[in-house]
């Protein structure tokens, strides 16, 4: 099922990312939910993954040979929902039910409820071990699928991430790729003033991974790096993606108030204008 290398259509990916940002901002306003900044910072990763890298078929979401993408930073659920709906896993119309009573789109991705959600996340430090289990299963079953796990930088506080990191490198899981959304903020403070993550790429390297620092908003580079798996290093790959929390909207960028704040109707219009959507 491994697709041959293909060059990313950067313009199309950029347009898609802008559209998804607009959708997420609308959802956040409608639901008055938290985690807008966290969702905006990782949307280029999701766009590159779902519109270029992943070998998936939304009509067959449980195909045993599919690539797996786990949003380990489950609080960015809005970004995942907007991505999955626009990719065809469920109707875009259903996004209006986000965080409403009796819906399928809760503030964190649910288990066994919504097509395309590989794992129910929200408690940090769980997605990578689960992804490793999937990667090991692929090896045992002699399948060639790949597993991607998107972690937040704050999530790197969790000890289970480092248990998993040492396990994956000992197992030489070169069908596994971690992307760290390194936006330098966690819920209430600067990441490196909370627990010392820096030097983050060196830490992953020291734990036996083939780690690379990249611009987490460069969809072309993200697509190329994520697609090159296995990359010949014989190791699992860690992409330390430097990002900006609230990316795409000037008055949200790098302002941690948007970890919890939802935009007003006026702010939604302003944001959509900046994204070139109106």
């Amino acid at each position: 099922m491994n697709a041959a290398y293909k060059e990313p259509d950067v313009a199309a990916l950029k347009a898609r990312a802008a559209q998804l940002r607009g959708t997420v901002i609308t959802m956040c306003h409608a639901a008055s939910s938290a985690h807008l900044g966290s969702s905006l910072s990782c949307l280029d990763v999701l766009t590159a993954a779902y519109w270029h890298v992943l070998n998936i078929d939304p009509a067959n979401p449980t195909d045993p040979d599919r690539d797996r993408f786990i949003l380990s930073k489950g609080h960015a659920a809005m970004a995942l929902y907007a991505t999955l709906a626009n990719r065809g896993y469920f109707p875009v119309e259903e996004l209006k039910t986000y965080n409403q009573d009796n819906g399928r789109l809760a503030e964190h991705p649910p288990a066994n409820l919504l097509p395309g959600v590989e794992a129910a996340t929200g408690s940090l430090g769980h997605g990578l071990p689960i992804g490793i289990g999937m990667a090991v299963a692929g090896r045992i079953q002699k399948r060639s699928y790949k597993v991607y796990a998107l972690l937040s930088d704050g999530e790197n506080n969790e000890g289970s991430v480092w248990e998993a990191a040492m396990f994956a490198s000992a197992q030489k899981l070169d069908n596994l790729c971690v992307i760290v959304d390194y936006n330098k903020w966690q819920a209430t403070a600067r990441s490196n003033e909370t627990l010392m993550l820096a030097p983050l790429a060196d830490k992953w390297r020291a734990f036996g991974w083939d780690a690379h620092e990249i611009d987490g908003h460069d969809v072309g580079e993200l697509a190329r790096k994520m697609q090159a798996l296995p990359n010949g290093s014989g190791k699992p790959v860690a992409l330390i993606a430097h990002t900006v929390k609230g990316k795409g909207v000037s008055f949200m960028e790098d302002d941690n108030n948007w970890h919890y704040r939802a935009p007003t109707a006026d702010e939604v219009v302003k944001a959509h204008k900046e994204l070139g959507l109106v």
Binding site: P64, H126, P129, I132
Partner: protein, 307 residues
């Protein structure tokens, strides 16, 4: 129990290519046969139980049948959230097998005791909780668990415990307790490795003219409600016996059932460990004696209650 588990595991692993054994850096020699036969399906996960349990969930989501294994506190309470969120919430067939339940490893101290695990695990939706009474029940429980699709917990004692059953239990069913000895006055419901002790209780009672039914109540969740109904209607005294805290364990589960089912028990006794850590040095037999959980001590308390 431990050696029977390893032996049964190897046999099952030969028949079922989905079975993956994950060990928390323990019992490597124990699993030599399994490892030799299926090297790709034996993984020493090191001293990293959170990861081991998450990996098991990922394997189970991908069609495999993983077993996580280490000393009881480390594969239950240490990684409780992974059991709850990764295995049980996703409702995937991860099997947690623990060794040294209760006070089986009394001498190792409270860090290695496990008298709270049933309480925690039975509170989790979708979980099956089994505490086999002897080595044959361990084998049967493992086979039964592998034939269904839910997350499950098998709580084992240690190696070299008395074997109660005479051979393979072909009719073993999850949630269906087993009559060990028939009696007419009192009913002793035993879960887990207390079973040999409970048989002693019955024999001590017999010497005093009290006829005791002995039941291996191996499955704590789901409860064998039919058996409970029968026991509380037929006997003048029913007792639950477990090497686990009186808070939240088997006895608590039965007490909850009594309240919810609206029956009025004639006499109901719960035997278990107190709400305290057992800090003294010494082996399991010593700990049981201190906590009044030997066969004779339990018989004494039952006789006192009947008097």
């Amino acid at each position: 129990m431990r050696n029977a588990f390893a032996d049964e595991l190897t046999a099952l692993g030969n028949d079922d290519s989905r079975l993956v054994m994950l060990s928390g850096d323990i019992g490597n020699k124990l699993f030599d046969k399994f490892r030799a036969a299926h090297p790709e399906r034996f993984i020493n996960c090191g001293v990293a139980e959170q990861n081991m349990t998450g990996v098991a969930a990922g394997l189970a989501m991908s069609g495999m049948r993983p077993i996580t294994y280490t000393i009881t506190p480390f594969c239950t309470t240490r990684c409780l959230e992974q059991i709850r969120t990764d295995a049980a919430y996703h409702d995937v067939p991860v099997t947690v097998v623990s060794v040294g339940a209760g006070l089986a490893y009394a001498g190792l101290g409270p860090t290695h005791h496990a008298c709270e695990d049933i309480a925690f695990l039975r509170a989790i939706p979708n979980m099956i909780v089994i505490a086999p009474g002897d080595a044959w029940e361990v084998r049967a429980a493992l086979r039964a668990v592998m034939q269904q699709n839910k997350p499950a917990y098998i709580r084992m004692g240690k190696k070299g415990e008395p074997v109660v059953h005479k051979g393979r239990l072909d009719n073993f069913k999850i949630g269906e307790s087993i009559t060990i000895e028939q009696g007419s006055d009192v009913c002793l419901l035993s879960t887990g490795n207390m079973l040999p002790e409970v048989i002693e209780t019955a024999h001590a009672l017999k010497e005093k003219g009290v006829s005791a039914e002995v039941v291996s109540f191996h499955t704590v969740k789901p409860l064998d409600e039919k058996r409970l109904q029968d026991a509380f209607s037929r006997y003048k005294l029913v007792a639950t016996i477990e090497e686990h805290s009186l808070i939240g364990g088997f006895g608590s589960a039965v007490a909850e059932w009594i309240v919810d089912s609206g029956i009025a028990p004639k006499k109901f006794l719960r035997f278990g460990t107190p709400d305290a850590f057992f800090k003294k040095s010494g082996e399991q037999e010593f700990a049981r004696e201190q906590l009044e959980l030997t066969g004779h001590q339990m018989a004494h308390r039952i006789l006192h209650s009947l008097a």
